[in-house]
């Protein structure tokens, strides 16, 4: 067993960290305040660095790297800006990956390659007002009509929506079939007639990542944009989310790491009773717990990523990684605010933003409760 990163993984970490610190970090605060998605920085630059298709083969515009490299990239981006981290994660794990896993050759050439090269931004539409955790409750419909399908319905809380060009969307193709069996996945492109965007969400955190509604009003999709087989949509969604959880776990890990570093730096500088507070055992114990939980999360995340790269079943591993990393992120960022005290509560320091950003990692791409269901049901099968 080897716990060391490879030379390539180390180089990727150094490169993404330098980029993140030099280019992404300086505007993280203002983009959060303005709730502004800066595509040129948060996506186009990632494409130039070859990050938008990390795990896909070169023939589809990817870089041919492994899932650990991907986890490292999302972690390093999220260490300074969780919104940039989730932009990449949603694009790669939730949109490009299902096309790679379930698409036919024509779909891979037509849709995956431009996504992997970062010419197009991707998004994923599963959640609806009455279907989130319960994907089987999908009410959006896709009715076969001649050589295509007609979509009707609304998707909510969609990351990258509005700015993304390519969407993987789930709709019910068979109203008679049992809940999970009648759903199918489709690739829908922006500017398709009948496809528009609803309201933009005003969120607590990851405010520079856009979240919007997708509205389908008699939107006609050619049959060639059915992803996988008709009725296979639930499987597409579940497989996609297994991979997505590695992305969100990495995002949570990065947020926690950023908060720990901010807390350590502050504790070394801040003096009370003529002593840097880092010298007090009460502070040191908190920092020690934060660091230990982060390292445990990191091992779970990289272990799930290793399994994903080596064809080993990773559904349970990615659920554990996401559960642990997201709850660690929430705990660690809250503690970081506590270490910084009054300053931590102000927007002058980044830890309050990190605390707001951390919360969503316990919710999206499967709440902590769903992760426990996945792990628990595997244990008791």
């Amino acid at each position: 067993m080897n716990f060391e990163l490879t030379e390539e993984q180390n180089l990727i970490r150094d490169m993404v960290r330098e980029f993140a610190e030099t280019e992404v970090a300086p505007t993280a605060k203002i983009r959060d305040e303005e709730e502004r998605f800066d595509r040129a920085l948060m996506f186009d630059r990632l494409a130039e660095l070859g990050l938008t298709g990390i795990v896909f083969p070169e023939e589809y515009g990817g870089a041919g790297a492994d899932y650990i490299s991907y986890a490292i990239a999302v972690e390093e981006l999220s260490r300074v800006c969780a919104s940039t981290g989730v932009t990449l994660s949603a694009h790669l794990s939730l949109c490009a990956n299902p096309i790679y896993l379930f698409g036919n050759e024509e779909q891979k050439q037509q849709f995956l390659a431009p996504l992997a090269r970062g010419e197009k931004l991707g998004a994923f539409g599963l959640t609806e007002p009455s279907a989130g955790t319960d994907a089987g409750g999908t009410r959006t419909t896709a009715v076969k009509d001649g050589k295509g399908y007609i979509l009707n319905g609304t998707k909510i809380f969609i990351t990258n929506a509005g700015d993304a060009e390519t969407y993987v969307v789930f709709a019910r193709t068979d109203k008679q079939a049992q809940k999970h069996h009648g759903i199918s996945a489709f690739i829908v492109e922006k500017n398709t007639q009948g496809f528009s965007f609803g309201k933009k969400e005003q969120k607590m955190g990851i405010r520079s990542s856009p979240t919007m509604e997708l509205v389908f009003d008699n939107c006609r999709i050619p049959a060639s944009q059915l992803l996988g087989e008709e009725g296979q949509g639930f499987k597409v969604a579940m497989k996609t989310l297994d991979g997505g959880r590695i992305g969100i776990a990495s995002q949570a890990l990065g947020i926690a790491q950023g908060a720990l570093e901010a807390a350590v730096n502050y504790a070394k500088e801040r003096k009370q009773f003529d002593t840097p507070i880092a010298k007090f055992q009460g502070i040191q114990f908190q920092l020690a717990d934060m660091a230990t939980q982060i390292e445990a999360s990191r091992l779970l995340v990289y272990s799930a990523a290793y399994k994903a790269s080596h064809g080993i079943s990773y559904s349970q591993a990615s659920a554990m990684a996401k559960l642990m990393a997201s709850e660690t992120a929430m705990r660690v960022t809250t503690q970081a605010v506590q270490v910084l005290g009054g300053y931590g509560y102000t927007r002058e320091f980044p830890v309050e933003r990190m605390m707001r950003d951390a919360k969503i990692t316990e919710i999206y791409e499967g709440t902590s409760e769903v992760q426990r269901m996945v792990i628990g049901s595997a244990l008791t099968k």
């Binding site: 180089l11 990727i12 490169m15 660095l49 070859g50 990390i54 870089a63 790297a65 990239a73």
Partner: protein
């Protein structure tokens, strides 16, 4: 066109340094390692020259233990074509003359038309290797360059002198250039290029094969400077203070070039 870039791996400068036992160098345990910052500009300039001339072959050379290979891979990912590691576990103890001698021994008869290196290393900082190497090869050298252009085998470079003065120097190749910070903007090694760097040639040569020049210096002790309190305090009325400040900024920094 064959180009050589000489690169050194140095510790992250934000590391906490401890002296090694015997106090002849710093303790190398538990340090994170980076490419010497000045050498990043050298690598970038070599890659830009290659992009300008179309066909060129860039060799990245570094002397040191096995861990330097990771930093060499960064140079390969930035666009160098092949790497030469001169394997030497005690490179840290060698003086600039011995280091330049090893490089010269390798570079002689290799027909390099252009050699780039940083103007100094961030750890030893002697600033001598580039010029000594040029002397040994019989090449002209231009130091502390801040701008570089090439046309028909002739190089037009800008040098930085003291007090904010610059000089333009014209030189015919083969020549050695030592690079100052700000010469260009070193590129990030992109992820696809990191993956491709794996497949590039990285040759290892035992230092014994190239070590022909005897050192002439010996470091007898290194130590931390005594801590001095405070910074520089300027005195006088406001116009005088401003003049003093401008003078310092011009002479000691590149803020007011």
């Amino acid at each position: 066109m064959k180009i050589l870039v000489c690169m050194k791996q140095v510790p992250d400068m934000e590391s906490k340094f401890k002296l090694s036992p015997g106090a002849l160098w710093y303790d190398t345990a538990d340090l994170a390692w980076r490419m010497n910052e000045y050498d990043e500009y050298a690598v970038e300039q070599a890659v830009r020259l290659k992009e300008q001339v179309g066909t060129a072959d860039i060799t990245i050379l570094s002397i040191g233990p096995d861990r330097i290979k990771e930093t060499m891979k960064k140079a390969l990912a930035m666009g160098c074509d092949r790497g030469v590691q001169v394997a030497d576990d005690v490179a840290w103890a060698k003086d600039p003359l011995a280091i330049a001698g090893i490089i010269a021994e390798y570079a002689r008869s290799k027909d390099f038309s252009c050699i780039f290196t940083g103007m100094q290393s961030q750890d030893r900082g002697s600033g001598q290797v580039g010029v000594l190497l040029a002397e040994m090869l019989g090449f002209p050298s231009v130091t502390t360059i801040v701008d570089f252009t090439h046309e028909n085998g002739e190089y037009l470079v800008k040098r930085e002198l003291e007090g904010g003065v610059k000089a333009i120097v014209k030189v015919k190749g083969p020549a050695v250039f030592t690079c100052q910070l700000g010469l260009n903007s070193p590129r990030y090694p992109t992820l696809p290029n990191i993956m491709k760097a794996k497949k590039k040639e990285l040759l290892t040569i035992p230092v014994e094969q190239l070590q022909k020049t005897a050192p002439q210096q010996e470091t007898t002790r290194i130590f931390f400077p005594e801590k001095k309190g405070g910074g520089l305090i300027l005195e006088g009325d406001i116009p005088a203070l401003a003049d003093q400040l401008i003078k310092i900024l011009k002479e000691k920094t590149s803020v007011l070039a």
